[in-house]
């Protein structure tokens, strides 16, 4: 028997329906649909994936397989602030690894972990396309560029005070 799942709001579900109608083929709406679901729910839990599958009229296996391919889809809960530090070549040449160490110390967590209060998750990511202003990190939707340890401290303090 199917489980009843009600994790997505009607608003998101109707937005997904609109997206499906927008494309020449409805399946093209899958990535944007997953992004909307993640925005609402914070991460793509099995229940969310199942519900997206239902609205998209796709199999849960298909939706799960797509969700697991893309790094921006979180399949585990993440903190309120998702800190993603680029450690690719240009950022690395200008000290990105030191920033990661600095963040680990300041937050008291390792890469891939979330602070116990659920505020910050720390990740290393591939090139963010901001190599001219390296080193760079992305926190949620915002880029922070030309970073130094002092700047990182300021940013953390500002986020903590929010």
């Amino acid at each position: 028997m199917r489980r009843e799942v009600h994790v997505l709001s009607d608003k998101v579900k109707s937005e997904i329906q609109q997206l499906k109608a927008r494309y020449p083929h409805p399946n093209s709406a899958l990535l944007p649909a997953l992004a909307l679901a993640q925005k609402e729910h914070g991460w793509l839990s099995p229940e969310v994936l199942e519900e997206v599958a239902e609205v998209m009229e796709l199999s849960p296996a298909q939706v799960g397989s797509v969700a697991s391919f893309y790094t921006m889809f979180n399949r585990r809960p993440v903190g309120k602030y998702l800190i993603q530090v680029c450690t690719n070549v240009a950022c690395s040449l200008l000290g990105a690894e030191h920033l990661v160490e600095h963040l680990k110390q300041k937050l008291g967590i390792g890469v891939g972990e979330t602070t116990p209060d659920g505020r910050f998750t720390l990740l290393e990511v591939e090139c963010l396309g901001s190599c001219g202003t390296a080193p760079v990190m992305q926190i949620n939707d915002t880029y922070y560029e030309n970073l130094t340890a002092e700047k990182v401290d300021q940013i953390l303090a500002e986020l903590r005070s929010r």
């Binding site: 399946n27 093209s28 921006m72 889809f73 040449l93 396309g129 001219g132």
Partner: protein
């Protein structure tokens, strides 16, 4: 620096709005294209300009457009704004500062290719750019530059901004299309090429942001203007992104065939802290690295090929003395291993193996046999992987062994990285 063309709106307040874009002469090429040209004549104009694709491979845009099979509709155009090649950030500058320049280029290109639905596939990380594009698309609809019967010409076009979700392989054109169809971004076998069978199995044009961005200027100023810059085979202007150990990293607009030395010293302010340059990656992370002996190479497709590397996306990464090459290559190998889509064995297994060997060399556990082994693995990936991602992973490995073999041997012999305290 000469008067900027591609970057003319960058740094101008509110350049992303349609008002400022139009005040500065924007949306003038569009009516000209619609009034003065039949679609086929526009394809011919772009062919005569010699404009080459700016996404990495450098294939002539007009020639690609002319491959669309006659009489098959619908056709699609997809602007590749995935920009995932490490070192590359030029498309982001255009998108954020001049979204209408790109949109105008897309509209004209769609008219030329008889396309009525177009997409901009933008990497998911570019949230700010995507929002600016979406806003600009709405403005363009409101002004009648998109939608039905554009400027009374009878030409219709819908433009959809589509965001990716983090996967470098989605920059590869067939992977991009698979992703746009709502699937994992797995590449497809070619042929058929997208021009004959692409999105939803219909004829599809895929071009890079910078490529499409050039089109309005070619319409306004003509093919001869374009071919008067650069070389015969590499005409026009190019955006170069320069990063790493230089004083003024950033995006610079230069005619093709400008010497690498000019870019590094005259534009990017020379090496950081005056440290000698050790190596240069000339065209994005997959392009084989070169050494300062080649500083006078002209930055164009042929000259870089002649010295065994590539212009690629025009992303120059400068590596100063004091940087461990093995560590740098290990990091790049980690990137390719992470981004391999897993569809084919040579790339999936090979990139992982390359990384593991580089990792052990860098961490003091390298063996004498590791260098021939690395090269052997490279030759088992090269030309044998399903898509060019496999080949892309080899550029840093092979070139670094060619130029810095002693540094590798030193790591192996001393069982440690000489650059770590």
């Amino acid at each position: 620096m000469a008067e900027p063309i591609l970057l003319r709106n960058v740094g101008v307040p509110d350049s992303h709005t349609i008002e400022v874009y139009m005040q500065r002469g924007g949306y003038q090429a569009l009516p000209k294209a619609l009034k003065e040209y039949e679609p086929a004549a526009l394809v011919d104009l772009v062919k005569r300009s010699g404009l080459r694709g700016r996404g990495g491979a450098g294939f002539p845009a007009g020639v690609k457009w002319s491959f669309l099979p006659k009489g098959v509709y619908p056709r699609y155009l997809v602007c590749n704004a995935d920009e995932g090649e490490p070192g590359t950030f030029k498309d982001r500058v255009l998108i954020e500062h001049d979204p209408h320049g790109l949109i105008e280029g897309i509209i004209i290109s769609c008219y030329a290719c008889e396309v009525n639905t177009a997409f901009i596939y933008i990497r998911g990380e570019y949230e700010f750019g995507a929002r600016r594009l979406e806003q600009a698309v709405q403005e363009a609809y409101a002004h009648g530059f998109l939608g039905k019967n554009i400027l009374g010409s009878g030409f219709n076009l819908d433009l959809i901004v589509h965001r990716g979700a983090g996967a470098y392989i989605c920059g590869e054109e067939t992977g991009l299309l698979t992703s746009l169809e709502g699937d994992r971004g797995h590449p497809k076998l070619k042929p058929p090429f997208p021009a004959s069978e692409g999105l939803y199995r219909k004829p599809t044009v895929i071009n890079n942001v910078e490529t499409l961005f050039n089109v309005p200027f070619i319409v306004e100023r003509g093919a001869e203007w374009y071919t008067s810059m650069g070389t015969e085979k590499s005409p026009g202007l190019k955006l170069f992104c320069i990063s790493g150990h230089v004083n003024k990293p950033g995006v610079y607009e230069l005619p093709l065939a400008t010497p690498l030395r000019t870019l590094i010293y005259d534009y990017a302010g020379g090496p950081l802290e005056g440290k000698p340059i050790k190596a240069i990656i000339p065209g994005g992370s997959s392009t084989p690295m070169i050494t300062p002996e080649n500083l006078d190479v002209p930055l164009d497709y042929e000259s870089l090929a002649a010295i065994g590397t590539m212009l690629g996306s025009g992303a120059v990464i400068v590596i100063g003395e004091g940087t461990c090459i093995v560590r740098t290559v290990e990091r790049l190998a980690e990137f390719y291993r992470h981004e391999s889509c897993g569809k084919c064995i040579p790339c999936r297994e090979g990139t992982d193996w390359l990384y593991k060997i580089l990792h052990r060399i860098e961490h003091g556990a390298g063996r004498e046999e590791d260098l021939p082994l690395l090269l052997d693995i490279c030759s088992n990936i090269g030309g044998k992987s399903f898509c060019p991602l496999g080949d892309a992973a080899l550029g840093p490995v092979r070139s670094s062994i060619a130029h810095f073999r002693d540094e590798y041997l030193q790591h192996i012999r001393d069982k440690r990285c000489p650059y770590q305290d």
